[in-house]
């Protein structure tokens, strides 16, 4: 298979960031109250991811290994701010609906994960397609979860009434508890049918510094990696302070 196409398929299905890798749980739970919010959040994240991936891949030879994290932070945060400004200017309704979760894209593990695990080691073209694949995979997942919650919680999908009039919306599904419940059911189904997912250990281990898989993260992998970093001369730490 074409290796660019392979990156797309990988992001959409094989390593879908939400369904398989279980990354970026916070926005997944918070903004999926409706399908339209899912689209807004998914696409904003995708744009940030694609832009950061391309920039980091292009600069990968110039980034000193010791200060790569602050480097990534600066680039990703700039991209997020640009996206936020553009949203405010041209699609204010999306910006208002998502509010604080737009700037919080900065700390979405999908972004840092992909930038560190992929873009920092691969060519611009491949990183671009990796970003598109992952971004779209995230968007589709958010839209699916959002549609499901909106359908049960309000009887509509994309604001179109789908359920018959007699259907009494189960408002809980668009309230916070509903978010947890939907995700609980989703992961239970994945367990039941032995679908690949980080939650039942059947997905392949991620190459992220934090070990990936927010769900069962106990900080151990991260701490181990972190300790390994500390063994090295403390230069990166000093620099981070100055910055």
């Amino acid at each position: 298979m074409n290796k660019y196409l392979e990156r797309l398929v990988n992001g959409l299905f094989k390593e879908n960031p939400t369904f398989v890798l279980m990354l970026g749980m916070c926005p997944t739970l918070a903004v999926t109250t409706s399908a339209i919010n899912g689209v807004g959040m998914g696409l904003s994240t995708a744009v940030v991811l694609v832009a950061s991936n391309v920039i980091i891949a292009a600069l990968r030879k110039f980034i000193p290994n010791t200060v790569r994290m602050p480097y990534f932070i600066v680039v990703v945060a700039s991209m997020v701010t640009i996206v936020q400004l553009l949203l405010q200017a041209y699609v204010p309704s999306v910006n208002e609906a998502l509010g604080i979760y737009i700037p919080l894209i900065v700390v979405n593990c999908i972004i840092f994960g992909r930038v560190e695990a992929y873009a920092a080691k691969n060519k611009v073209g491949l990183s671009l397609f990796d970003g598109i694949g992952m971004g779209l995979g995230f968007t589709i997942a958010l839209v699916l979860i959002g549609s499901f919650r909106e359908l049960l919680g309000a009887g509509t999908i994309f604001n179109f009434r789908v359920m018959p009039e007699s259907f009494e919306p189960i408002a809980m599904f668009i309230k916070p508890p509903g978010a947890f419940l939907v995700l609980a059911m989703l992961t239970a189904l994945q367990n039941k049918f032995k679908l690949p997912s980080a939650t039942n250990g059947s997905a392949k281990a991620s190459a992220l510094a934090c070990g990936g898989d927010c769900a069962s993260c106990s900080g151990e992998t991260y701490a181990a990696n972190h300790a390994a970093n500390l063994e090295k001369p403390n230069k990166d730490k000093d620099l981070r302070k100055e910055d």
Binding site: P64, V67, V75, L85, K232, K235, L239
Partner: protein, 215 residues
Amino acid sequence: MSNNKKKKPSILHDALSLTIITIVCSFALAFVFEITKDPIKAQEEAKKNAGYQVVFTDAVELTTDEEMIELAVEMDLSTLNADYSGVTIDDVIQALDGNGNLLGYIVKSNVRGYASTISIAIGYSLDGVVQGIELLAINDTPGFGMELANPEFKDRFKGVETEQFTLTKNSASNDNEIDVYSGSTVTTTAVVKAVNAGIGFLVENAEGLGGAANE
């Protein structure tokens, strides 16, 4: 890790490369900010005006009343009525008909809700009738304070001829009584306070309003 072998990283080199990327990013950000500045302003203006239009549907033209704004900013509203303490007014608009005749005023008053500032636009015509209110910004408990944003609550104010609203815990019998929303006591109280202060300010200061109080 392999990089370490190739080249001995020096603090200077690292710091320099970080500085460069930061500067480049800052320029990119400043550039985008310059481009989006005007559209963002226009969007905010449009949203504000849309809110204003709703509270005074009869008005054809809205013009900002700079004098009144100046007065409102300087004035301590609690001198009008101790109840108004904590309310600020930062925008006053004249509502005009198609021929430029003054129909009434729109004031924007801000008050502390229970977790954030609430901004309310109040339309008040010269004959002392509330034309409508609109909540411009409210961030209180999602799903609770927000109940107040629904039309039912806002319509309680519309078309009422009064200078003061009062809160009641029993079901309201008079036009100028507002039911406290259960679960949003603080927010309801704040909204009513802001509306009263806005009207109070107009009655006291605006030309062509309030008659006796104006002399």
